[in-house]
Structures are given as structure tokens and as C-alpha cells.
């Protein structure tokens, strides 16, 4: 791939799916807005805390079971007492409190260890694009369809973002600098030119720009922004304050004329951006959707 692929007047389908079973909140044929919840569910919390009950209570691991107030499977609140040891008629009491809200996942009667898993995490997937629900996935989500244009990029960082499109470049070869970005760009999708300076990236974050779309970005600046190298080009989970889409790769890359014209046509209208990139595995590329 070399240049951004731009398509106009196309039907765009977005699969909106939970990573785990949940509840689908929309009906087939329903019209949805960008922020309409499509499905909601709960996923297992990866936070698992090990507690040495024997050490906390000062007893032999084999005796810990006698002092437990909770069992495997019980829910616990942070600071709730889960084990108690009284001695000398109550004059010396040792208490073990839950370090977090969660569920007791495992308790070993031989090692005196207790595992508490954090409460399941609520997850929700919204429509991301305005349109009609054309297919349902029971317990998982739906496909939302709209008509419009789409520009696919080379690499991006950050996940999904949306906002009104503002074109800050006067021409495909312009460089986006910090002076161009103002408070008026809060929540907007901003189109720069051939590249963006590191100062402008920092300004975009501080102002609260939803997404930056540019022809190219310096790899060194991007690594600096991320705090690490891009490695294998799997992105989308970064939390850098905005989504960045580079349409043609790294360095100074003048915007494709056709892409520039397209963005000018849609200026002021909604742009739905996703910086997720997976180069190795599924060849996912970042995209800018411009619904009609």
C-alpha cells in the first residue's frame, strides 16, 4: 500500500461487537446516532490480588480456614473484614480487610493464600457512525450501516473518535503547527497537511482535539508522544489524549489531492475516526469515515 485509499458514495458497514457476551440494546432496522449504545455487558476483571492470610493473621497456613469469614465465590467490598483472629479473650485481635471490591476467586487451605478478583468491568459498545442497524449478533452486537465516504490511512494511534471536521491545511503540502490549533478545536477532527510538528501534537492534546488527520508524521515524534517505539505496528489502545491518523505513513507526506478535495467537501460535517492499526495480523488500517 502506498497512497491513502479514498472511496466516495459507498455503503459503509461497521461491526459493533462486545468482546464477551452481553445484552444487545438495539433492534433490527433501528436508526442510531453515533453515541447510541448498541450492546452492553460485563467482562472478567484482569486484576487479581493475592493475599497471604496466614501472614496477616500470624497463624500457620494450615489453620487459616478457622478464621475465614468469607468463602470462595463471595463478593467483598474494599475494607470489608474477610478474616478475623481473636486471642487472649479479644485483647489481641488481628483483622484482614479486603484490599479491593471484588470476588474471592480461590482460597488454599494448605498455603493460606487467598485470591481476590476485581469486580467485572462494565463494557459498552456504541454505534460510532450514524445509520441503520442491518444485522444483529445475539448477545454480542450489531452491524450499523451508513452511506458516505471513507479514507483509509497507513498508520494511526488511539482508538475511535468523532467530531466535526475542520480543515486547517490550505493545501496538501502544508505543515500543521501549534499556532493553528486553538480552543475552538475542542472535540473536533482536524485535518492538517503533509505533517504535524511535535509542538502541535502537544497543543492538540492540551486543547482537547478529538483527532488529528495528517499526510505523514515523524516516527521519532510519534515514539516520543507514545513514550515507546511502535514495535510491530499494533495500535489502537494508546491513551495519548487524541487519535492520530497518518494517511500515507511516516515523514512529510503531502496529502493525496483526491483525499484533500474530499475532506474539503465534508468540512464542518461529522467525521468518525479510528486509529486502530494491525499491520501484521489482520491488516487493519486506520480510517476516517465521512457519513453523508
Amino acid at each position: 500500500m502506498t497512497d491513502p485509499a479514498v472511496e466516495r458514495n459507498v455503503v459503509i458497514c461497521k461491526v459493533r461487537r462486545l468482546p464477551a457476551p452481553g445484552e444487545v440494546l438495539v433492534r433490527l432496522g433501528e436508526m442510531v446516532k453515533v453515541d447510541t449504545p448498541i450492546a452492553r455487558g460485563r467482562v472478567r476483571n484482569t486484576e487479581l490480588v493475592e493475599v497471604r492470610v496466614d501472614q496477616k493473621l500470624g497463624v500457620d497456613a494450615m489453620d487459616v480456614a478457622h478464621y475465614m469469614l468469607k468463602r470462595e465465590g463471595d463478593e467483598v467490598k474494599k475494607d470489608e473484614v474477610i478474616a478475623l483472629r481473636r486471642s487472649f479473650f479479644g485483647s489481641s485481635t488481628k483483622i484482614l480487610r479486603a484490599p479491593l471490591d471484588g470476588t474471592i476467586e480461590a482460597f488454599s487451605r494448605t498455603s493460606g493464600k487467598l485470591l481476590i478478583r476485581g469486580l467485572p468491568i462494565q463494557i459498552e459498545v456504541n454505534a460510532h457512525i450514524p445509520g441503520r442497524v442491518t444485522e444483529l449478533f445475539p448477545l454480542e452486537g450489531a452491524i450499523v450501516e451508513c452511506k458516505g465516504a471513507i479514507a483509509r490511512g497507513a498508520v494511526g494511534v488511539g482508538g475511535e473518535a468523532r467530531g466535526p471536521l475542520e480543515v486547517l491545511a490550505n493545501g496538501p503540502g502544508d505543515v500543521l503547527t501549534e499556532d493553528s490549533i486553538t480552543k475552538s478545536h475542542i472535540g473536533k477532527v482536524v485535518l492538517g497537511g503533509a505533517t504535524v510538528t511535535p509542538e502541535a501534537q502537544i497543543k492538540a492534546r492540551s486543547v482537547g482535539v478529538a483527532a488529528l488527520v495528517v499526510g505523514g508524521v515523524d516516527e521519532k515524534d510519534l515514539s516520543g508522544l507514545l513514550g515507546h517505539e511502535l514495535n510491530l505496528g499494533d495500535t489502537g489502545m494508546e491513551r495519548i489524549g487524541f487519535t492520530l491518523v497518518s494517511l500515507s505513513g511516516f515523514g512529510t507526506q503531502p496529502l493525496d489531492e483526491d483525499a484533500f478535495r474530499l475532506f474539503k467537501e465534508y468540512e464542518g460535517r461529522l467525521a468518525c475516526v479510528d486509529g486502530t492499526t494491525q499491520i501484521r495480523t489482520r491488516m487493519l488500517r486506520p480510517e476516517v469515515i465521512l457519513p453523508d
Binding site: M1, T46, V155, G216, D218, L230, L232, G233, G251, I279
Partner: protein
């Protein structure tokens, strides 16, 4: 044409390459090569379309009809979308875990996850990683026959909890091959049968002193055909057309390299620098090993090479100075844009990345291609698990054949430079390059027509660059003085200074005798040997003398790099 009179041999990779081999007057000969785009993805979603297109470019007559090949045998290997992605698990990472890795890599797999009971990561984390990565096959090893059962059972429980889904859809169960303690089979079957298509085969490590990879490799091939291939677009039809089971491309490469090394009774090292991975194959004293660095490649893995070696590791190989930003941007663009043709600067960076990717790959290979770890002879128990006491099979001072494969190996001079710079062979080594990309095809043909496969390999694809004499150590002044006595009795006397490379005129295939003496600080053989007498063969570059010493020191001045490059450039007539 009738079967066995002709073979259509197809490798489905980034492109689909079909080779026609025909028997004429009792001898198999290459009749043509056809190439077409691989059609595993939309809109075609059927690999057989690409095969038909490639075959149509081969011959006037129809080779593949409506129902498959007509009057010839079809052999096929697949390495791209239909490649084999595996996860392996063992009890002790460096014992059963490594044996399982060797079995998977030897069967041609891309290894995308390794796990063991002694893994420092908590079980729940292993479960998360297993869930997030979708393999084609899971290989579980662990425990010697008759040994402990509990630990391998624990690993099976982790795999059960992970409920790993196969790469191609959820409509079939992931194949899990158990190649561990035979006495644990029943327990493992009880644990895994509900979630997975489980089968048990002979233990990869029946005892601590013995490794037995054959049954696991065979089971991997069977599962590959039965489960993976049948779920890839178009492979179901293809599986009915082929004369032999479809192989992973890397397995076909391994087969022919092993056969070649065995026939010639040499130690062989082959490096394949690809876009997404770096594959290293070796055969030392009859033992085959393959390792794969899945995160280091010249396109997808380009930024990862940068991360591992640092910017200086790349820039030191560039023939001219390049500022850091430009270099980083070019590397990034190699990864995200995958250009089909390189501009000058991109070509330079690609070449520098190739050197570092092979270096990293060879280092990884040294670790994996080792004698069995954990085997105790006359040491205390404390030494048992110390990696440093185990030596690798890889011995660059006893490597007779070094082969370069992949897109980084272009013209003979650059290919020789790439092999010498990245692998740093010492003493006498023959350098070859896979000129036509037909190594997998020769590997596929091996089981059907061994002589034809050998001829295809040596005659059509393997290009001999030349024998090289590389001095070990570092010193100054004259590094080596040598005399080449050619078959016509004429002699060439040459002295090569430290830090230089020279090529001497020797015809491709011409044998000659060489007597060489190393200068101060250098050696030409084991135990700091100073003299060497040998018979060597010329190649397309003649006979190469690399007097830069080992380990190779890359100079800061770009003029020396240019001299090295010029020294290996093929000479024009009369030069």
C-alpha cells in the same frame, strides 16, 4: 502427459509460484515457472484461482482442468495465509518447552506463544494471552515417560480454562497435540477433550537424555491437513487435487536443506530474511534445527529491529550518513507501506536492516539449536539448569555451507556481503544464495523424486557465490598470505591486509588447492591454528578472502564500507 511424468509444484506465499518439472529421456527437467497473485483473500477467497492463473503462464496446454490437475501430479506447500501458527507448552521451559518448540519449528510452524509451568507469569495472565492469540494448533509436552503427572496436568488445566479458539473461525475445535508423559495421557484427555480436538502422540522428551520429535511433527502435519487447511479459503478443493499432503512452506524448505546437507555430509546454515519473520535453518552433524524470530522481519518487523538494535545498529551499515529522523521514517514506511520497489535510500536501509535481522536470528538460533538441556553427565545437581553449561550445535568454524534466502539477497556481491556481515563465518565456508526462490519446490518434490529434487535444488535455484576464507581474531598488518594452485598448475599468490576483503579469480565450479597462513593476531583454524591446506571451489564471485577479522568491527568511516562493497562487486571482464 501422465502422472509421474510431470509434476506441477506450487508454493502459496505472498505470491503463488508454480513450477513444472517434466521427465524427458528419463531425466526430470525444469519446464517452466509461472507466478500469479495469491487469491486467499477477498474478492477471490479461493487459493485454487491463483494456482490456475500461475499454471496458465507455464505451458500451452491445460495443466489444471475443471476438476483439478490433468495428467500430472500436483504438489503444494503453503506459507502465507495458509501458514501454520502454533502455540506450545511444556512443564519446564528449557526442557520439555524447548523440545516442543523444536518440534513445532521443525514442522514449519510460526510460533506465536510458548508457555510452561515454570513461567514467571501468573496462570491468569497465561490464560489471557492464550485467549488473545488464535493459533492453528496447540502442542502440549511435559514430563518424562513414567515421571510426574501433576505438573503437566496443571498446564492442561490452564489450557482448558483459556478455551483457546482456532485462527479460522469458531465452528471447529482447536487441535491440541499432547506429546508428553505417556502415563498422563488419560488425565490430559479427560481435561481437554471437551473443549479441544485432542490427540496424544509419543513423548517429545521420553527421558531427560533423549528427544523424540518425529511423532509430534507427524501429528502436526496431520492436524494441519485435517483441521487448518480444510478451513482456509479454497484449500478443501486443493486438498483433493494434491498427490501428497499440503506442507507448510518452511517444512518443505527444511526437508531439502537436510537432504542436501546429508548427501554432501556437510554442516549447513541457511538464513531466510523475510518481510515478517527471520528463519534460520541448520544441519550440524546430522541434527536438523530451525528457529524463527517472529518479531523480526524486514517489513512488518522493521521497527522492532530498530527497537532491538538501536538506531546506531542500523546506521552503521549505511554506505552514507543519514540523519536519524530520515532513517526512522524510512524504517517506519518499510513497515506500514511495504513498497514493492525501493528508492535508493530505502534500499540501503533495507539492506542494513537485513544484516541486523539475520544477526538477531542467528543469536536466537544459537539458543534453540542446542544440545538437550537438563542432561547431566558429570556435574553437580546445581549445574543442571544452568544455560551457560550447555553448548549450541551452531559452530561457525565448522560450517561448510552457508545459504541466503529471501528478498534481501539480490545480486551476488550484495548477497555475499550480507552473509559475511551478518553471520560472520570463520575459516572456510561455501556461500550460496537461493537465486530463483525454488527451495520450497525442491523440498516438495523430494518425497516423490529425490534425484529430481536434488537437481532442481542444486541446478536451478542454488547459486554458488564462491568459497570464502575468513580469518578469526583481530590484529594489524598482513592478516593472511595464501597460494592458490589451479587445476592447470598455475598459482596465485596473494597477501591480504587486516580489514580488507578481496576476491580472487576462480571460475564457478573450478576446484583448486589453497595454502594459507594467518598473520599476527589472526587464526585460520581451531585452537588458534595458523595454517590451512584445503581444496576449495570457485563461484560466481571467484574465491573470497575476508580479512576483516572476527568479531567484525564496523568502521565509522563510510569510505571503508564502500571499499568492502566494491571488493565484492562482480568483476567486469578484464578487471
Amino acid at each position: 502427459m501422465s502422472g509421474k511424468e510431470a509434476y506441477l509444484i506450487v508454493d502459496i506465499g505472498e505470491s503463488t509460484r508454480a513450477v513444472l518439472v517434466r521427465r524427458l529421456n528419463g531425466t526430470y527437467r525444469l519446464a517452466g515457472i509461472g507466478e500469479a497473485e495469491t487469491t486467499i483473500e477477498a474478492p477471490e477467497l479461493d487459493v485454487t484461482i491463483g494456482i490456475r492463473r500461475a499454471a496458465e503462464k507455464l505451458d500451452g496446454e491445460t495443466l489444471i482442468g475443471k476438476d483439478g490437475p490433468e495428467g500430472l501430479c500436483l504438489l503444494c506447500a503453503s506459507g502465507d495465509g495458509g501458514g501454520l501458527y502454533m502455540m506450545v507448552a511444556g512443564v519446564i521451559g528449557m526442557i520439555s518447552g524447548e523440545s516442543a518448540q523444536r518440534a513445532a519449528l521443525g514442522a514449519g510452524a510460526h510460533l506465536i506463544g510458548t508457555f510452561s509451568v515454570d513461567d514467571p507469569r501468573p496462570d491468569y495472565r497465561l490464560v489471557e494471552i492464550m485467549r488473545a492469540t488464535r493459533p492453528d494448533i496447540f502442542l502440549l509436552a511435559g514430563g518424562t515417560d513414567g515421571g510426574a503427572i501433576q505438573q503437566v496436568k496443571k498446564m492442561a488445566e490452564v489450557i482448558k480454562e483459556a478455551d483457546v479458539k482456532p485462527r479460522f473461525g469458531d465452528n471447529y475445535r482447536l487441535p491440541v497435540i499432547f506429546a508428553g508423559n505417556v502415563e498422563a495421557r488419560e488425565d490430559i484427555a479427560v481435561t481437554l477433550t471437551e473443549e479441544y480436538a485432542m490427540r496424544a502422540v509419543g513423548n517429545v522428551r521420553p527421558s531427560i537424555e533423549r528427544e523424540n520429535l518425529g511423532p509430534a511433527k507427524e501429528a502436526i502435519y496431520d492436524s494441519y491437513m485435517e483441521h487448518v487447511i480444510s478451513h482456509s479459503p479454497g484449500y478443501e478443493s486443493l486438498a483433493k487435487w494434491v498427490t501428497r499432503p499440503i506442507l507448510p512452506t518452511q517444512a518443505a524448505i527444511g526437508k531439502i536443506l537436510f537432504d542436501y546437507a546429508e548427501r554432501r555430509r556437510v554442516n549447513l546454515l541457511a538464513v531466510n530474511a523475510g518481510g515478517s519473520t527471520t528463519d534460520i535453518y541448520s544441519v550440524y552433524r546430522g541434527v536438523f534445527n530451525r528457529s524463527l524470530d517472529a518479531d523480526v522481519g524486514l517489513e512488518y518487523g522493521a521497527l522492532n529491529i530498530l527497537k532491538k538494535t538501536g538506531i546506531d545498529g542500523i546506521s552503521r551499515w549505511l554506505p552514507k550518513h543519514m540523519d536519524e529522523r530520515t532513517l526512522r521514517n524510512i524504517i517506519g514506511n518499510l513497515m506500514v507501506r511495504r513498497p514493492s520497489n525501493y528508492l535508493d535510500e530505502e534500499g540501503m536501509v533495507f539492506s542494513a536492516l537485513a544484516r541486523e535481522s539475520i544477526k538477531l536470528g542467528v543469536e536466537e538460533h544459537k539458543r534453540l539449536a542446542s544440545r538437550l538441556k537438563g542432561v547431566q553427565i558429570q556435574r553437580t545437581i546445581a549445574d543442571t539448569f544452568i544455560q551457560s553449561v550447555e553448548s549450541t550445535y551452531l559452530d561457525l568454524g565448522d560450517t561448510q555451507v552457508l545459504i541466503g534466502m529471501g528478498s534481501a539477497f539480490t545480486d551476488p556481491g550484495e548477497s555475499a556481503a550480507l552473509l559475511l556481515d551478518s553471520v560472520e563465518p570463520i575459516y572456510i565456508t561455501e556461500l550460496y544464495v537461493d537465486r530463483s526462490g525454488l527451495v520450497p519446490h525442491a523440498g516438495m518434490l523430494l518425497g516423490e523424486a529425490p534425484e529430481a529434487a536434488f537437481n532442481l535444488f542444486t541446478g536451478e535455484t542454488l547459486q554458488r557465490l564462491g568459497t570464502c576464507l575468513c580469518v578469526d581474531g583481530n590484529g594489524g598488518g598482513d592478516a593472511v598470505s595464501l597460494m592458490l594452485t589451479r587445476q592447470d598448475g598455475s598459482a596465485i599468490l596473494e597477501t591480504v591486509k587486516s580489514g580488507e576483503i578481496k576476491t580472487l579469480p576462480l571460475l564457478d565450479g573450478e576446484n583448486c588447492k589453497i595454502e594459507a597462513t594467518a598473520g599476527k593476531g589472526f587464526s585460520l583454524g581451531k585452537d588458534k591454528g595458523k595454517r590451512i591446506n584445503a581444496t576449495v571451489m570457485g563461484g560466481s564471485l571467484g574465491f573470497i578472502v575476508d580479512a576483516r577479522g572476527r568479531p567484525l568491527r564496523v568502521p565509522d568511516d563510510k569510505a571503508t564500507l564502500a571499499k568492502w562493497s566494491k571488493a565484492l562487486a562482480p568483476k567486469a571482464a578484464g578487471e
